[in-house]
């Protein structure tokens, strides 16, 4: 196991590479989920503001 982690002496370069790969892609996968919540909340806010006006008209 220790030998595997050492990567023939290049562990200090190999593992950070893989870390960057996973961290950047994790951020990329997470971002749309946050964005979706924001967009839906915005949409609801817009609908709520419009509703009283519609009720007054009907």
């Amino acid at each position: 196991m220790a030998e595997f982690l050492a990567m023939g002496g290049y562990g200090g370069y190999v593992w950070p590479s893989y870390a960057v790969f996973f961290i950047v892609l994790a951020i990329d996968a997470f971002a749309p989920r946050v964005q979706r919540k924001r967009v839906l909340a915005e949409l609801r806010g817009r609908l709520k503001r419009r509703q009283p006006r519609n009720e007054a008209a009907s």
């Binding site: 595997f4 990567m7 023939g8 002496g9 290049y10 370069y13 190999v14 950070p16 590479s17 893989y18 960057v20 790969f21 950047v24 892609l25 951020i27 990329d28 996968a29 971002a31 749309p32 989920r33 964005q35 979706r36 967009v39 839906l40 915005e42 949409l43 609801r44 817009r46 609908l47």
Partner: protein, 259 residues
């Protein structure tokens, strides 16, 4: 209108595409994770040590697939920008803009992992040779497209302006790809070739290709999720988008009373 265009119109309608994308995206992510696990096991454990570079070469299993994805995402973005500019198809505008952040992420990974590979092998983190410089220009093009898209208030005008920049930037793609043949560079030539034999042992090639497939699937998963958001934003005034927004709020209200 023939049946093919009819089918295309149906798929291309925001409501239908939203639903299909929502169903397909989890499968893309799932398959990407499964293939990625296989590819990484093959690359990090099963693949033999390189005769020249020792174990440092194992960075190839993420560096090269991400580099391919940086180029692939750009072609996808520019092709959709072209369709959007000529035929004004909303879905193409959104697909084009949705692929920019994913492509930028892959290009960023390519640059960082390349740097981490270059230090022990070449002896330097960075050098201004044609390949490295054009890859950096690719990242800046992505950032320019994303920046321009967010700088303009009107979503459709923003997509058109940013799409135009994406189209012009396509001249950089052959420069990235052929830089190692056209100029003397520190970066080596292409290892995996479509025409002619690849210059990599079969035991190292299959994990590399598996990772490439995994990153492609990841790209489409991420692309579809982002496209869904873009469609919601653009069609915010339409009934289908409203019912999705309200449906979620009902769910949450229900969870609150039950919980």
């Amino acid at each position: 209108m023939n049946s093919l265009t009819l089918w295309f119109h149906k798929i291309g309608s925001p409501r239908t595409f939203y639903r299909i994308a929502g169903a397909v995206a989890p499968w893309c992510y799932g398959a990407a994770l499964a293939l990625g696990a296989v590819g990484l096991y093959g690359g990090l454990v099963l693949a033999p040590t390189d005769y020249q570079q020792g174990d440092a070469y194992r960075i190839i299993f993420i560096h090269v697939p991400c580099a391919w994805m940086g180029l692939f995402a750009y072609i996808f973005m520019a092709a959709n920008a072209f369709i959007a500019l000529v035929w004004r198809i909303k879905l193409s505008e959104i697909l084009s803009m949705a692929s920019a952040p994913v492509g930028a992420a892959f290009t960023f990974i390519t640059l960082v992992t390349g740097s981490l590979w270059g230090k022990p092998m070449w002896g330097t983190w960075w050098t201004w040779d044609a390949r490295l410089t054009s890859e950096l220009v690719l990242l800046f093009l992505y950032l320019g497209v994303i920046g321009l898209y967010h700088a303009i208030e009107d979503r459709r005008q923003a997509a058109r302006a940013a799409g135009f920049l994406a189209l012009i930037g396509i001249v950089n793609l052959p420069i990235v790809h052929f830089s190692v043949n056209w100029w003397n560079t520190l970066h080596q030539g292409s290892t995996v070739r479509l025409l002619g034999p690849s210059k990599i042992d079969a035991a190292m090639l299959w994990p590399l290709l598996t990772m490439a497939l995994a990153t492609h699937l990841y790209f489409f998963g991420s692309l579809l999720l982002r496209t869904r958001i873009g469609l919601l934003e653009l069609d915010g005034g339409k009934d289908w988008a409203r019912s999705i927004a309200l449906g979620e709020s009902h769910e949450r209200a229900g969870a609150r009373t039950h919980g």
